[in-house]
């Protein structure tokens, strides 16, 4: 039986997942990205300094990650010397964007997979926000209208959290997270100019000053976000994990892991990063070799050649191509499937014994939940990995603010040569992000983006290997084949972004 799960909601963009279900088990899954714009084509011939602006519009959820990746690529192409403040401000902007994204993902995008919204009707406390929501839901249900309490109802059938207090606590935090994500973004915008779509990020730094009043405002907002991460977010992830322990074993992807490393510790892009880069296969981490990345298109809606390395990439749309089922390409590392994202970042860093806070948090939660690091490759593993990322990043950002030199330069001297090329690699919240730029006559001759969800939601490659998310879905047991809340929970754990995946 073939069942389409699309449109998958509470993600970014246009995703369908075509599943085949036999005897209550998903035996096949195709991730179909259903939106195409063609950024790499219309970037050609533009001024290279337009790139960090244009590429932010690939994704309005993680625009800062694109601005940073583009800035890194341009810094390499222009051979810029970046002042310490410039790199720190890049980190402060990008890091705060990660924090908002984790909160948004857990509460606004994922919580309704587990939390029972209708529990609000039995609320007897005095919290004004919850009472307001209770009255609203009640009024909606009492009125004879189609689809009452939308967008929170209707919902998929399934087992939700049973404990009333846990549900109500999570709903309260859903409301609070709406406020907290704004604070993380406001902090980032202090130096980025605005959110979404920063105008202040440039190759070599940013245009805002490193002024003490701005630094302290950033610290103040970030401290509130950090507090919420520790007091609410991490306990809520833990509570969901305790209530749904089977999800430590559901949704494992079947390939390796890749991370480009997040937040450089010095102005040099090749310096150590807060979270270490690497590629992980069979328990072994190796250094990343960008030359090993190529993109297959046998099942993607392009007629351009397959298996091209990044710097030779091509893009000719063919919407009616025989056998093609997605606008996303299929990137592979040395021909192999990898998962990218929060779990990849944590596993790769942990495996190398790099960041002590990562090590301690992983060990602590593994002991608490009775799991091993292998279980991080699962629905709950991805949620927990995000929370660990959040805790580590928040502390690092606060420490970074103290390293800013008040009044020191925040921008490199920008001089754009006639020609050059550069790769910019970083981690968006959703995983490994690569921008490649080649210039001729001070114009963009080639631009290529290989984006986290391109990896995770990729269709099959030329060898027929399913992408990471497809492989995580195949083999899943589902109660209700028509709705498959189990499959939707797996998809949500990857936090797919289709605008990123296809661009």
């Amino acid at each position: 039986m073939k069942i389409d799960l699309g449109p998958v909601t509470r993600i970014e963009g246009h995703l369908n997942v075509r599943t085949t279900v036999e005897n209550g088990v998903v035996t096949d899954a195709q991730c179909m990205s259903e939106m195409f714009r063609g950024f790499e084509v219309f970037l050609q011939g533009r001024d290279p300094l337009d790139a960090q602006q244009i590429t932010q519009r690939i994704c309005g959820v993680c625009p800062y990650a694109h601005a940073i990746a583009s800035s890194y690529a341009q810094e390499k192409a222009y051979k810029l010397n970046v002042p310490p403040n410039g790199r720190i401000l890049h980190n402060l902007i990008q890091g705060a964007n990660h924090l908002y994204d984790y909160l948004l993902h857990f509460y606004q995008l994922s919580a309704l997979d587990f939390v029972d919204v209708t529990a609000i009707l039995s609320y007897t406390g005095r919290d004004a926000d919850l009472l307001k929501v209770k009255q609203w839901v009640k009024a909606e249900l009492d009125r004879n209208k189609p689809f009452p309490a939308a967008p929170f109802l209707p919902r998929l059938e399934g087992k939700y959290l049973a404990d009333r207090d846990l549900n109500i606590g999570a709903l309260k935090h859903y409301l609070e997270a709406m406020e907290l994500q704004k604070k993380a973004n406001r902090a980032a915008a202090i130096f980025g100019g605005k959110f979404p779509h920063s105008t202040g990020i440039f190759p070599g730094g940013c245009t805002q000053e490193a002024r003490i009043d701005l630094i302290v405002a950033y610290q103040s907002l970030l401290s509130e976000v950090r507090q919420f991460i520790h007091d609410k977010y991490i306990p809520d992830v833990t509570a969901v994990a305790m209530a749904f322990p089977e999800y430590w074993r559901i949704g494992a992807s079947k390939g390796g892991f890749l991370s480009f490393g997040l937040l450089p510790l010095t102005p040099a892009l090749d310096s150590k990063r807060l979270l270490a880069p690497g590629v992980l296969f069979d328990g072994q981490v190796s250094p990343v070799d960008l030359a090993k990345i190529s993109q297959d298109v046998k099942y993607s809606k392009y007629s351009s050649p397959s298996r091209l390395p990044v710097r030779d990439s091509a893009l000719t749309p063919a919407p009616h191509k025989e056998g093609a089922y997605s606008w996303a390409k299929a990137p592979r590392y040395a021909g192999k499937v990898v998962e990218v994202g929060p779990a990849a970042r944590i596993l790769i860093d942990y495996q190398q014994g790099h960041n002590p806070m990562v090590r301690d948090l992983v060990n602590k939660f593994a002991a608490l939940a009775g799991i091993t690091t292998a279980n991080l490759n699962s629905v709950l593993g991805r949620h927990l990995a995000r929370a660990i990322n959040a805790a580590v990043i928040a502390d690092f950002l606060l420490a970074e603010t103290e390293r800013l030199e008040h009044g020191g330069p925040t921008m490199a001297n920008l001089a754009v040569p006639q020609s050059g090329e550069g790769y910019g690699i970083t981690e968006a919240s959703r995983g490994a992000l690569l921008h490649y730029l080649r210039m001729e006559n001070q114009k963009i001759a080639k631009y290529e983006c290989v984006v986290p969800t391109t990896w995770n939601a990729s269709p099959r490659d030329d060898q027929g290997q399913p992408g990471a998310m497809e492989s995580a879905l195949i083999g899943t047991r589902v109660e209700n084949a028509e709705e498959q809340i189990e499959s939707v929970r797996i998809v949500h754990s990857f936090d797919p972004c289709i605008a990123c995946a296809v661009h």
Binding site: T9, G13, V41, L49, W136, C497
Partner: protein, 305 residues
């Protein structure tokens, strides 16, 4: 000193004294929730978009995003927030679009791929098909952001999809419907939410170029706190400098928007306050031409004869 028990008693008495019954009528009116029957139902659909406008809408301050989607409108469907997905989600959209779920406003984020309609699908239909069908049943539409208004970034020169905005899409099909354009890449949350408040409380706001005059009647340059620097010819020479950013390529003189007085992210900041030139994201021609870059940093000096 007041002990805890007496304090609580007093607090209870005080809060009773300020209950709704004892209030002057206008106060009660201001606090009263709108009649849910009178607020528009919104079906929010995305085309060639990045979701940046939706994310911006979540950055609203007063009213809060939650109040906007429960009290001042009824958000029947939004792909980023709706609990339901799959076939049931399509059924919900279908019931509205077919005119079987009452009146509704369409909110559109993203451009329409006129040359490759298959470049944007929702379920098993193209985005364009939904828009054509909705035109027959909707009360009107709010085009949210640069892409929905004028094509935005997907319509940049050299694009392959033939991306266009909602007004042009309907215009080509001879469809005449109320369309309110809210330009910006992304939109400021106030521009959209306050337009909806206008629609709910006092009707369609006054429009200029299909956009609410309230937000788009003056140019960024006219309202800019650095206009004085411009007049005094105090110009920023390189990125990060203070002064008027015109010589770095600032597009404030070509862009209608109230960013200089409204500010962004809860009033904390905006582009020019962070020394970043305006890139004209609220202009109908935003990012359109390759030979008009955002910055004049790589510009070759013009030689006269």
């Amino acid at each position: 000193m007041l002990d805890r028990r007496n304090f609580l008693k007093m607090a209870a008495a005080l809060s009773a004294a300020f209950g709704v019954q004892g209030m002057p009528a206008p106060v009660a009116a201001a606090l009263k929730k709108l009649d849910p029957g009178a607020v528009p139902k919104l079906i929010y659909l995305q085309g060639l978009s990045c979701t940046g406008c939706s994310i911006s809408l979540l950055q609203a301050e007063s009213p809060s995003p939650l109040a906007m989607i429960t009290d001042y409108s009824q958000l029947a469907f939004h792909a980023d927030l709706s609990a339901i997905s799959g076939k049931k989600a399509l059924d919900l959209i279908e019931r509205y679009i077919s005119g079987n779920a009452g009146e509704y406003f369409l909110a559109v984020e993203g451009a329409i791929p006129e040359k490759i309609p298959e470049a944007c699908l929702i379920g098993h239909k193209t985005f364009a098909q939904y828009l054509e069908e909705a035109a027959k049943t909707m009360t009107g539409a709010v085009a949210v952001g640069a892409c929905a208004c004028d094509g935005g970034i997907p319509a940049a020169e050299g694009n392959l999809t033939g991306a266009i905005g909602l007004k042009e899409f309907y215009g080509k099909r001879g469809i005449k419907k109320l369309i309110v354009n809210i330009r910006g890449c992304s939109v400021h949350p106030d521009w959209v939410w306050h337009t909806i408040i206008h629609l709910v409380k006092v009707g369609v706001p006054e429009l200029v170029n299909d956009a609410p005059k309230l937000f788009y009647s003056r140019k960024v340059h006219e309202l800019c706190p650095r206009y004085h620097d411009f007049q005094q010819e105090i110009f920023a020479k390189k990125l990060g400098d203070k002064g008027c950013l015109f010589k770095l390529g600032c597009l404030g003189p070509d862009t209608y928007a109230d960013c200089p007085t409204r500010w962004w992210n809860g009033g904390r900041t905006w582009c020019i306050d962070s020394n970043a030139p305006c890139i004209g994201c609220a202009s109908p021609t935003f990012a359109r031409k390759k030979n008009i870059p955002f910055y004049r940093i790589n510009e070759k000096p013009v030689t006269n004869g």
